[in-house]
């Protein structure tokens, strides 16, 4: 732990590196030079997928738990918004006020995430992946076959965000800023949590759970708490995703999309909360423009190849590529050693990726 950085209470913004301010400024100005398509379909969608992947990054990067059920958690929140709030298909739609529906949906998603944690935290590596995948598949089939609550194959449509302060929040620019605010808030929260007692103990549990038990920590409870927190992130992203699409159906929580989240997190990099967003941008750009290069049906081949290339050449994802390139771009300048970075997750990310 870098003590100066850690205990610098006078100005918490002083610890934010200059490049973050530049990226922040670019993100704020983005809608002013991007078209509606790029603002909404590329910008906002990347931020939302990145936020779901961030919830996975938190579990996998800091806690060493690779969960494939993060999109399922987000999907539950999305479904609950349609069930508790309003929809246009005439099934459920209890008409709760939007703010109450949001709070209950996000909280229920977090509880569901904690439940997933409770049944998977005693496993490690590939077994955690298998259990969480099984939960994701079970949820997909459940919502597809249940018509009473989830309206089966059709799902729900007409799930709209509220009109607040005279703004229709599904318009591209307002929705982009809403997604950006949520994403930035969660990145900050995750970074802050990673330096807290809880974050340190989560990383220590990842390194050596047995030793943590021998220091008085209830390892299972810590892991479940991490699942709960990641559920808040995924659930909030789920609410925004259903507003983004205006609809939700079993296809939204299908196995292929579930795996996409893992691909996004790994391609972006699991060692820093910014990684999932880099992965999401790459994914969304490929998803939209790969058809210009290759047949539509071959989209997954392109994604798969990109995933393979990144994992082969940079186990730390796009972030890892940047880390490798940076010294070359800074020829002549002093380059800090890897140890001096003291990023707590550095030494273990490649292990998480290997597990993946």
């Amino acid at each position: 732990m870098d003590t100066d950085r850690l205990f610098n209470k006078s100005n918490p913004f002083a610890a934010i590196p200059a490049w973050s301010w530049i990226i922040g400024l670019l993100l704020i100005l983005y809608p002013s030079f991007a078209s509606d398509f790029f603002t909404y379909q590329i910008g906002a969608y990347s931020l939302l997928l990145g936020t779901v992947a961030l919830s996975l990054m938190m579990l996998a990067g800091y806690g060493g738990m690779v969960s494939l059920a993060q999109l399922t958690v987000a999907g539950l929140a999305g479904y609950l918004m349609a069930i508790l709030g309003d929809n246009s298909v005439g099934v459920m739609g209890l008409g709760w006020p939007w703010w109450l529906a949001v709070i209950v949906s996000v909280f229920a998603a977090a509880i569901f995430s904690a439940f997933i944690g409770a049944i998977s935290v005693r496993t490690e590596g590939i077994y955690t992946i298998m259990i969480t995948l099984a939960i994701a598949v079970a949820f997909f089939y459940f919502v597809r076959q249940n018509y009473t609550l989830f309206n089966g194959f059709t799902g729900f449509a007409g799930v709209e965000p509220p009109t607040l302060f005279g703004i229709y929040w599904r318009d591209p620019v307002p929705f982009y800023y809403l997604s950006l605010a949520v994403a930035t808030g969660f990145v900050g929260a995750v970074l802050n949590a990673s330096r807290s007692t809880f974050g340190l103990s989560l990383m220590a549990i990842r390194d050596n759970p047995r030793r943590m038990r021998a220091l008085g920590y209830n390892v299972a409870a810590h892991r479940i708490a991490a699942y709960f927190m990641s559920g808040i992130i995924a659930g909030t992203a789920g609410v925004l995703l259903v507003w983004f699409n205006g609809r939700i159906s079993p296809g939204t929580v299908g196995v292929d999309v579930v795996i996409d989240i893992l691909v996004i997190a790994v391609v972006g990099g699991l060692r820093h909360p910014i990684g999932p967003f880099l992965g999401a941008i790459a994914f969304v750009l490929l998803e939209n423009f790969a058809i210009d290069l290759i047949d539509r049906e071959r989209f997954n081949t392109v994604i798969g190849l990109a995933f393979l290339l990144v994992v082969i050449f940079s186990p730390d994802g796009i972030l890892g590529l940047w880390k490798r390139l940076r010294p070359k771009l800074r020829l002549g300048k002093s380059v800090p050693s890897a140890a001096a970075g003291t990023t707590p997750t550095d030494s273990h990310v490649s292990e998480s990726v290997k597990e993946v």
């Binding site: 732990m1 870098d2 003590t3 850690l6 205990f7 802050n192 949590a193 330096r195 807290s196 007692t197 809880f198 974050g199 340190l200 103990s201 990383m203 220590a204 990842r206 390194d207 050596n208 047995r210 030793r211 943590m212 038990r213 021998a214 220091l215 008085g216 920590y217 209830n218 390892v219 810590h222 708490a225 140890a339 003291t342 707590p344 997750t345 550095d346 030494s347 273990h348």
Partner: protein
């Protein structure tokens, strides 16, 4: 429970740090511990000796709950902890070190000790950054000095030398008001100077902190222990003072190989 049993339990609560009653541990058909009856007084310093495979580390695992006994009871300061998970035993003052260092390589030295101090207190789930005046952080700084690791305070543990990692291993066991520490070969692989430092650290522990030490180096074991338990094939073979054990012909024959003429 008969009244006399309860009374004796109460009496022993202040006297015995640890009581093992007919403890057995099986791994399938393998009997790793057989009928172990052992009592360790509060503040006592005990050495456990025995050849490889004698069951010494399994004994530690049974005490800490890493591998709970198959049958038998474990009592810690009079309380039956047999069915408690490891972390609950630790919160009651039981600590241990490992034969192979079990540290958090991705964290700094001070973070390792801080987590050890925090583990037995509340606020383990705090989402706040630890402040400099935090009691656990202050305890960690004190402990850092006690084990002579001040110069490595912010170094990543994965980058520490082996000897320093062993010192850190001791520091983690000393954190958070321990009452009994189980030391599993703490001197293994240390240089003579580092062994001297270890003996000094153990000698400077407050009187109320007892420990059980597994040590192959007889010199170290007999210098830091008040009593000795010899194990052989998962059973307790002899108990006594260091002098009694050192001069026991059976021990010499079994453990030191003296008497067979081949060293």
């Amino acid at each position: 429970m008969p009244a006399t049993d309860a009374l004796s339990r109460l009496q022993s609560a202040g006297l015995y740090a640890l009581e093992l009653e007919a403890v057995n541990r099986h791994f399938g058909a393998l009997v790793a511990l057989a009928d172990i009856n052992l009592t360790v007084r509060s503040g006592e310093r005990r050495a456990v000796l025995g050849s490889n495979g004698a069951g010494k580390t399994t004994l530690f695992n049974a005490i800490t709950g890493d591998f709970p006994p198959t049958t038998g009871r474990v009592r810690f300061f009079g309380e039956d902890v047999t069915d408690l998970p490891t972390y609950e035993r630790v919160r009651r003052g039981l600590r241990r070190t490992y034969q192979i260092s079990q540290l958090f390589g991705g964290l700094s030295v001070i973070d390792n000790i801080y987590l050890a101090c925090r583990g037995v207190t509340r606020r383990r789930y705090s989402l706040k950054r630890p402040a400099l005046d935090d009691t656990s952080m202050q305890a960690a700084e004190t402990l850092l000095e006690a084990v002579h690791l001040e110069s490595s305070r912010d170094v990543l543990v994965a980058e520490l030398s082996y000897g320093r990692q062993r010192q850190l291993e001791i520091a983690l066991a000393l954190a958070g008001a321990p009452r009994l520490i189980l030391l599993d070969e703490p001197a293994a692989g240390l240089s003579p100077a580092e062994r001297g430092e270890l003996i000094e650290i153990l000698g400077s522990l407050p009187e109320h902190i007892g420990y059980i030490i597994i040590e192959h180096d007889m010199d170290v074991a007999l210098r830091v222990a008040q009593s000795v338990t010899m194990m052989h094939n998962g059973r307790i073979f002899k108990e006594g003072t260091p002098e009694e054990i050192e001069n026991d012909p059976e021990v010499q024959e079994l453990y030191l190989g003296i008497g067979h003429g081949h060293g």
